[in-house]
């Protein structure tokens, strides 16, 4: 016995709604499984989905959302993870582009910004969990936590263009070490998120560019090829995954 299309559709939308509201994945799964079970029983007895969830799916979803806690830990883990990933990505780009060149300002700035962000995030997290602030204050904190990393890295780039500080060039050994570190970060992120994406995306973006760089094609051909591959690679990857997902669930 299969669920009707309407029911499947509703379950899918409920999942998406709860995920977008930052609810815990495990809890979402538990609820949708339970609802699936109920809808199956109801449909076997000839009841419609409206009979089960009422005329306003949105209202019903909100009812669920109100009873579920926000997965705050996840927000505060994801932001630093994205920062680390972005840094590793930047480093790897520089290495493949002929080696890392860091100005004194960048060399000091990145780690300092990083420590400040991590410190502030942990402060925010403790503040929210212990004070239970008003909703708008809580969202303000999330907004600051989201904008802060982007803003400070952006500011550093602007400052770096403005002030001329001495520049270091990494030696070959240092470049190799940095490369290994960045690769380790990608692998670590993949293991942590249980997704292949953190490994596949850098491979798709960097490997074609690097290989094309080794050929003796003209600069303009190289540029064209690179830009095509940078779009085509991820596109093909997502299409393959999408197809696989669809055939396995059908």
């Amino acid at each position: 016995m299969e669920l009707s299309k309407e029911s499947k559709d509703f379950i899918g939308r409920l999942q998406l709604y709860l995920m977008a509201s930052g609810k815990k994945e495990k809890e979402i799964e538990e609820i949708t499984e339970e609802l699936k079970d109920h809808l199956l029983e109801a449909e076997q007895r000839g009841k419609s989905i409206e009979h089960v969830v009422g005329n306003s799916p949105k209202e019903y979803m909100e009812q669920f959302s109100r009873e579920m806690i926000l997965d705050k830990g996840m927000i505060f883990k994801v932001i630093p993870a994205i920062c680390i990933g972005a840094l590793a990505y930047l480093l790897m780009g520089e290495i493949l582009d002929g080696g890392i060149e860091l100005s004194l300002l960048e060399f000091i700035g990145y780690p300092v910004i990083f420590l400040i962000i991590i410190g502030l995030l942990s402060f925010f997290l403790r503040y929210i969990s212990s004070h239970q602030p008003a909703r708008w204050k809580e969202w303000l904190v999330y907004a600051v936590a989201g904008v802060l990393p982007m803003g400070s890295f952006g500011a550093l780039i602007v400052l770096n263009n403005y002030f001329n500080t001495p520049t270091f060039e990494f030696s070959t050994v240092a470049n190799v070490l940095a490369f290994a570190l960045a690769a380790a970060v990608f692998i670590g992120l993949a293991l942590w998120s249980k997704l292949w994406l953190p490994i596949i995306i850098p491979i798709l973006l960097f490997v074609p560019e690097y290989l094309i760089g080794l050929t003796s094609l003209s600069t303009s051909t190289k540029l064209t090829l690179t830009s095509i591959l940078i779009f085509a690679g991820p596109l093909i990857y997502f299409l393959t995954v999408y197809k696989k997902d669809h055939s396995s669930s059908a």
């Binding site: 339970e34 079970d37 109920h38 109801a42 009979h51 089960v52 969830v53 009422g54 009812q63 669920f64």
Partner: protein, 108 residues
């Protein structure tokens, strides 16, 4: 308190009572409610309530795979805290229903 909140509180008490009769799952609870004439209750509306009752520690759940296949079924069992809450609900309900009855009797 809005009327929906009132109904929510009553429904929670009724669910506690149904679960107190033995381990059960969502669809079975709805069937029992139906038997007692709770036809105004939207079937799906019990799940957000059950979620809350679990958070309050009144019930515990366990997942069981059915021999017929399909999704795992979630079973609910009352905790000691849930039993206390059920007793509290019965007392509250007695007060409310006897007051309403007395009042309506006098009117009629």
């Amino acid at each position: 308190m809005s009327s929906s909140q009132l109904l929510k509180g009553i429904l929670e008490g009724c669910l506690l009572s149904i679960i107190s009769q033995g381990e059960t799952y969502g669809y079975e609870m709805i069937e029992k409610l139906d038997q007692y004439g709770f036809t105004m209750v939207k079937e799906g509306s019990i799940y957000p309530l059950l979620l809350r009752m679990k958070k309050e520690g009144w019930v515990v759940t366990s997942q069981k795979q059915l021999p017929s296949g399909g999704p795992k079924r979630k079973y609910y069992k009352l905790t000691e805290k849930g039993e206390l809450e059920l007793e509290e609900f019965k007392k509250r309900w007695d007060t409310v229903s006897s007051s309403v009855e007395r009042l309506l009797d006098k009117e009629g």
